[in-house]
């Protein structure tokens, strides 16, 4: 079965495989190689969508990426529903299912079309004015109604099952666009040996050669030359040819983002093919060969289905073999529409008339049209296109006015000339310049190492285009460091002409008229709207644009910007450049989130870090919590235990017998060199020079402003070697902080820093039985109290592998931290665990660790401190070396605000009711009856149920806290006020005897 409008007189799909597609439930015959648009047009279907605001029926405007109207949903399966796909870009495959959007209940009968009748209500700026009052109505009435009746398609509601690939690529010359210019430039650059990437958004290269019939390059038809050249390029080792690939963003230093659509055109992409591939290309030189986009004519009814760009009508015929109509009208101000009329006439369509704004159009194309018997109505304008769901007639009169004549048509081709595609040039921060002779913006000052060639830089003839492009290709290769040129020759001739054109509204759609002459189809902006914006006081195009939304739809005004600017300029009585041109921004066309995210989803969204004990902890039934990127064992519930019960048991067991804890995530830094102690003196508040080898000290690190930055236990392994620990969260930034000072402030010191966080896995064994558990496994270390007191470190062996054994405690109990090389960690854990079983030990997680340290008043940097807490504020004044003459933060600590009275200080908080556990973050006040907003004294930083104390415990920062010991303060909560007493920080074993017990 052949579709009704498919012709054998032209087109390149002859012999292509027939496929079936469906649109809004109806089945249509298509050919492989069709776009959805060409396939529907072949079947006489012009109505493809409804407009955004007025819900007006719309067909295709274009045959390419600039399409503003024919947006559809493509439904592959339940999870693969892509909205807002341009029918002019989507290639068909067997079984393609497309649905129209922005209509209800059906495309042909749309309730929302009442907006069109009521359109005076919906004039430009209507959103700003109408929805201002009453304020509450916005959320309850306006927004839901607008969202239901507007919107573009429906976003899929299931996770995207496709995968997307990513590639960084590097080249000497990147060519953007695969038309005659891009191919010539790529060939010239490639033949020098340069690494070349050429990208084109279409399934095949060719650019305008896709519809032009009058161009010959190197003695071949233009299209055939393009395909042969692409084959030649692809065969070269130094060239990558990317089709179906859009350059969507031009970033700093010639970094260009490309999206390659790998499988959207395939019926069954299979499992391994990505849907799209993101290319991040870094090029030494970029050649922009993005061509030009045809402009529509601005007249009443120019949005009727069947009214389209002349080049689109020509593309559907010459490439797809589809006649867009059988009785076609033409409205133009440029020569190129004549070529369309001629092609259609020769393919069997009748041309109702060519309406040309120009009084005396002349040239070979005009002569040829006349010779074919086509009626040419020069000096005339088209005042109206009429028809309901499809254009049915055009109404013509002289440009100066006078009687009207209505001519029946079933399609209408229009051309107001060509707009150079300066989008990527503009994105590269190049400045466009207005060429007043041709009334167009062209690349002006360049900001990056790139050059524009061909139609996008205003070159109108094919011969000049290929000549310039070859030169640009050779020059770019040379600039990229390639010495030899082979003298690439490309010879082109053409009968095509892109001369002529106009910008702004056509005569007949002037300020005095009432019709809907669309400038921006997708956002339903008319010439009238733009004039209204000017009347409302908008002076710059930036304001006009925001007031009318002209150019702000997903097509970013590819066809509308220049017309909008011209109409605004005319209304303001200014020249176009005085009104401005909006800056083009990435992306050039919409880009899927999938391609930008590519691999970074699911398990690759963020690295998940597991300690070497993870499997052991899983076996013990640990529940894990996320601590940054780490998975840390949170608590180990036994049968029948909830979190509370498990934590209570773990806390009690540690103090009664012992607990085994994974402390591997703490940061560790080895500080090595003869000046190691000197460096430590500068980085920490504490004194280090006199710390003996084999001993440890709790260190506090400040920022230069005097606030606590990190803390941790530091062991001195030798005179010139320290083993520093940091908080888990501080590991990377402490290393950076220390490197910064070492490299830039203290480079004279002979010391080096190495991160050993992951070299050493750490098992903390804490509790009265800790030594009994470990001792049998240890070789070469005397663990007696005399030989190894609290806060000491020894090197030896455990389970036959090297260990750095610390005697230290974050629980207040006798405790050890066993550091072992990570690959041995699991074996050592198993041995320690087996030993622990003999002594009634349990594994405990981070929650119990938090409770146990809070019972002892040990702070956690980042929880009990917040970047504005000094050692004095935290009650850690003892750790600041009073005799020291320098350390980072020494001067900051003396700042007036830091020594002033009334600072917030870290204290213990004891609820009057021992059963009440405070909420962390809750505010503390002196008088709960004061009016709101209350004066807040501070907040709760840590709060737990302490099984060992038999009551709740809490820490908090309170203004003047140290002087408030014994005072009653209040914590107001939504449902009650909690009474608390200010107490010391230590809740358990205040004398610290258990460390040695």
């Amino acid at each position: 079965m052949t579709a009704a409008f498919r012709t054998t007189a032209a087109g390149r799909l002859k012999g292509a495989k027939p496929v079936k597609i469906s649109f809004d439930g109806a089945s249509y015959a298509a050919l492989e190689g069709d776009t959805l648009a060409s396939a529907l047009l072949a079947n006489g279907v012009h109505l493809m969508g409804r407009s955004f605001k007025y819900h007006r029926p719309r067909g295709v405007l274009s045959a390419g990426a600039e399409e503003p109207n024919a947006l559809v949903g493509i439904h592959r399966d339940a999870a693969r529903k892509t909205p807002n796909v341009r029918a002019t870009v989507q290639e068909v495959y067997d079984g393609l299912t497309a649905v129209s959007q922005n209509r209800w209940p059906s495309l042909a009968f749309d309730v929302g079309a009442v907006n069109d009748i009521a359109s005076p209500m919906f004039s430009a700026g209507f959103y700003y004015k109408t929805f201002m009052w009453p304020k509450a109505a916005w959320k309850s009435v306006y927004e839901p109604t607008i969202r239901a009746s507007a919107g573009l398609g429906v976003a899929p509601d299931k996770p995207d099952p496709d995968h997307y690939a990513s590639r960084y690529a590097h080249c000497d010359v990147l060519v953007l666009g695969g038309g005659a210019a891009g191919l010539s430039a790529a060939l010239a650059a490639a033949e020098t040996g340069a690494r070349v990437i050429i990208a084109d958004e279409q399934p095949a290269v060719g650019g305008a050669l896709r519809f032009e019939t009058g161009s010959t390059i190197d003695s071949a038809a233009g299209w055939d030359w393009a395909q042969a050249t692409a084959v030649k390029l692809a065969a070269m080792d130094n060239v990558r040819v990317l089709t179906r690939t859009t350059a969507f963003g031009y970033y700093a230093q010639n970094m260009v983002g490309l999206v390659e659509r790998v499988s959207d055109h395939l019926a069954d992409p299979g499992h391994d093919l990505p849907r799209e591939r993101l290319w991040q290309v870094r090029a030494k030189r970029v050649i922009i060969a993005t061509g030009a986009i045809e402009r529509h004519m601005v007249f009443d009814g120019n949005d009727k289905p069947g009214v389209m760009l002349a080049s689109a009508g020509r593309t559907y015929l010459n490439h797809f073999g589809v006649l867009v109509g059988k009785n076609v009208g033409v409205f133009t101000a440029s020569d190129s529409a004549y070529a369309a009329a001629i092609d259609l006439k020769q393919a069997g369509a009748s041309i109702a008339a060519i309406v040309d704004l120009r009084d005396n159009p002349a040239g070979p194309l005009i002569d040829q049209a006349r010779a074919l018997g086509i009626e040419i109505l020069s000096g005339r304008t088209l005042v109206r296109a009429s028809g309901n769901l499809r254009v049915a007639s055009m109404t013509v009169r002289a440009t100066s006015g006078g009687p009207e004549r209505t001519i029946p048509v079933d399609a209408l081709l229009m051309s107001a000339g060509w707009t150079p595609s300066v989008h990527l040039f503009s994105q590269s921060r190049g400045k466009v310049a207005f060429d007043s002779a041709t009334r167009r913006f062209l690349p002006g000052d360049y900001a990056q190492d790139c050059v524009s060639v061909g139609a996008c830089s205003g070159t109108d003839t094919l011969a000049d285009t290929v000549k310039d492009a070859v030169a640009a290709g050779e020059k770019a290769a040379k600039a990229a460091g390639l010495a030899k040129t082979v003298g690439t020759k490309v010879k082109a001739e053409t009968s095509e002409s892109w001369a002529g054109g106009m910008v702004g509204a056509a005569p007949g759609a002037g300020p005095d008229t009432t019709g809907k002459a669309f400038v921006d189809f997708q956002n339903d902006v008319t010439a009238k709207d733009i004039r209204l914006a000017v009347r409302e006081g908008m002076r710059s195009i930036e304001h006009v644009k925001r007031f009318t939304t002209n150019g702000m739809a997903t097509d970013q005004g590819k066809t509308s910007n220049i017309h909008g600017l011209a109409i605004a300029a005319e209304a303001l009585g200014k020249e176009m450049p005085e009104v401005g041109l909006t800056t083009f921004r990435a992306p050039y066309t919409p880009v899927t989130f999938g391609s930008l995210v590519n691999h970074s989803k699911g398990r690759l969204f963020d690295p998940t870090r597991r300690t070497p004990f993870h499997a052991q902890e899983e076996k013990l039934g640990a529940v894990f919590e996320d601590v940054g990127q780490w998975k840390r064992a949170w608590y180990y519930p036994r049968a029948g235990e909830d979190m509370h019960a498990a934590v209570n048991r773990e806390c009690a067991t540690v103090r009664k017998a012992a607990g085994i804890f994974d402390a591997s995530t703490l940061g560790k830094i080895e500080v090595v060199g003869p000046d190691a102690a000197k460096f430590m003196e500068l980085m920490y508040t504490n004194p280090w020079e006199k710390l003996e080898s084999g001993r440890c000290r709790y260190g506090i690190m400040l920022r230069e402003d005097g606030f606590i930055y990190d803390d941790g236990v530091v062991g001195r392994l030798a005179a010139d070697r320290f083993h520093v620990t940091t908080t888990t969260g501080g590991a990377a930034r402490v290393m950076n902080h220390m490197e910064d000072y070492l490299q830039t402030e203290f480079p004279h010191l002979d010391v080096w820093l190495t991160s050993i966080s992951e070299q050493w896995a750490v098992i903390a064994v804490q509790g009265p039985k800790s030594r009994d558990i470990i001792a049998p496994l240890v070789e070469g270390i005397d663990m007696s109290d005399g030989a190894m007191p609290h806060m000491s470190v020894r090197e030896g062996k455990i389970c036959g592998v090297p260990t750095r054994l610390f005697r230290m405690s974050f629980t207040g109990e006798r405790g050890f931290e066993i550091n072992v090389p990570a690959d041995y960690a699991a074996a050592v854990w198993d041995a320690v665990w087996a030993q622990g079983q003999k002594h009634g030990a349990c594994a405990y997680g981070t929650e119990a660790m938090h409770v146990l340290r809070a019972e002892k008043g040990y702070i956690i940097v980042g929880q009990d401190t917040d970047g504005t807490v000094t050692p004095q504020d935290a009650g850690l004044d003892w750790a600041v070396g009073k005799k020291k003459t320098d350390f980072v933060g020494i001067r900051g600590l003396k700042r007036p605000d830091l020594v002033a009275k009334g600072r917030k200080q870290l204290v213990g908080l004891r609820t009057k009711d021992p059963k009440v556990v405070l909420e962390e973050g809750a505010q503390i006040v002196a008088d709960p009856k004061q009016p709101i907003p209350m004066k807040m004294l501070g907040h709760v930083t840590s709060s737990y149920w302490s099984e060992n104390c038999g009551r709740s415990i809490a820490l908090g920062v309170v203004t003047g806290g140290f002087e408030r010991m014994g005072q009653t303060l209040y914590v107001p909560m939504p449902d009650k006020v909690i009474e608390v007493e200010v107490v010391g920080q230590v809740f358990f074993d205040e004398k610290g005897e258990r460390l040695h017990g």
Partner: protein, 98 residues
């Protein structure tokens, strides 16, 4: 993504490997414990933040790990030059490629 010339690796490398580290050529006073509140404020809090040429510190943190200095145009984002930590602040005019 910018390309940054690391003076230690002597190569243009992708921005992802680097981290900005604030304004350059602000030396920590040798007698920092003795300086006045005003001097401390000048040293620690006050930055020039000019439009145009800025001297800033970068670290090739995911490369050679060295801190170095750069002259950059804050309007165009372009690097005019980079140089090793400890080297003298070069005199560069806007728009000049050093």
């Amino acid at each position: 993504m910018l390309l940054i010339h690391c003076p230690y690796c002597d190569e243009d490398r992708p921005e992802l490997e680097f981290r900005n580290a604030g304004e350059a050529h602000i030396a920590r006073p040798e007698n920092i414990a003795e300086i006045s509140d005003e001097e401390f404020a000048q040293f620690f809090f006050i930055r020039t933040n000019p439009k145009g040429l800025i001297y800033e510190r970068w670290r090739h943190i995911h490369g050679c790990a060295r801190f170095f200095n750069a002259v950059r145009d804050s309007v165009s984002d372009k690097f005019l030059m980079t140089y090793k930590a400890g080297e003298k602040r070069p005199t560069v005019k806007a728009g000049e490629k050093a």
